[in-house]
Amino acid sequence: MFQRCQAAAAAIEFSPFIRRMAEYKVHFEVFEGPLDLLLYLIKKEEVDIYEVNLTRLATQFIEYIDLMREFDLEVAGEFLVMASTLMYIKSRELLPADQQAQIEGEEEGEDPRWELIRQLVEYRKFKDAAVRLQALEARQEEIFPRVPGRLEAGPVAEPPKPDVSIFDLLNAVNTVLQRFGRREGAAREIFDDKWTVSEKIEFILQVVAGRGAVKFSELFETAASRSEVVCTFLALLELIRLKQLVCAQGQEFGDIEIRRAPSAAPAVAAGPQLP
């Protein structure tokens, strides 16, 4: 193929223009269409689109098409359509001026010269726009977004708290103990004292009913063993779960106060009462 090009270029040496085109044969594939080629030719002529000699442009274009054929390059249909348009423009230019005017008068606004120039100007603008987009594309490759470490692990923000409390945790302890006891028969190890949870429920309800409110720590003051503490604690949890009791903490890290739930019945000692 390359050898063929050389031969073709040699054969048409008579035309300096065509020889020059041969030097630019690498451009064949770059021309996206006839408009692209026309803009290239205009640029080679170093003239403004509005000042281009269309007759001369038509000649060059057709020469180029011929050259492409010489090189056995497939000439797309669009190029041939443009070639015929240019031939038409060229033939019109050759007519005397008065006859040209007559033609224009017949089909106002259809002046093919104007249509071609308009098309070229418009296409040229979009080629420029494409170049700007290309610059933006390249620029984006050089821009790195800030992607900070995840906040959860960072020192700046507290981690979100799960929607659970220490009471949920203790309830879980309770469940584990009970289930474990059932399964292993090991409940005795914990509940082998004289105390049962239900007894402690009675005890707590009595204390609360009698005094209206009781401090959390007071419930444990009389406990003789750790298992009694556990029983008391589990009883307390059960009462809270059954909505018989509520607990409140007056101040942070202060003692917790246990009182009967406002809606709990019977309302023996209902109502807020401070000891």
Partner: protein, 237 residues
Amino acid sequence: MELKSILESLLFSAQKPLSVKELREVLANAAAAEDAEADTRSLAKAKEGEVTAALEQLAREHEAAARSYRLACVAGAWQFVTQPEFAPWLRALVGVKARPPRLSQPALETLAIIAYRQPVTRAEVEQIRGVNVDGVMQTLMERGLVESVGRAEVVGRPQTYGTTALFLEYFGLRGLEDLPAADELRRLSIEKPPAPVTAESGLATTPPEQLALENKAGETKAADSSGKPAAGDSPAS
């Protein structure tokens, strides 16, 4: 606490670009927190306009500070990004950015036409480029830069095409109004011709004497890209 500073701290800490809508959600959520203080609550109902204005003020401040990063708005979402000249070091730190291959010249031209003229039919694009664009259109659609947006109210009701949010992201544009020389390139299709002189609807029909290449900067760039000196390309007129 100033709204502007709060937005800055949020964008500074966010893992992804945040839209005005998302930022307002964060403000509302912060105000809804149990322990929210008065100034936190007072921003719960910050208006869209206020937030946008604060963001733009922030972006100006960072631009003026001329540091190695800036606040950018891309496709409607705000994010801190580094300046391009630091890319060599950032590549050494985080590696080469994973990006699809660069677009070809035909693809860029077609994309430019669609971007400026949307909604636009395939025939209109071909009219401007002077060639068939089937293959290129398919590439652009596959890459998610272009999408079908409706149908034109002309014979045959052909599909019309427009650019996507990804298009804005790919080129780092805030919105379509951010496209360079947008007015000039859109004008031709938007302005009605004084008299219908051509058959092609939607195409320019400005009389020849009004046509002018007014975008010198763009021209220079075009000349540069072809490796030819700009001087010869467009003589002073």
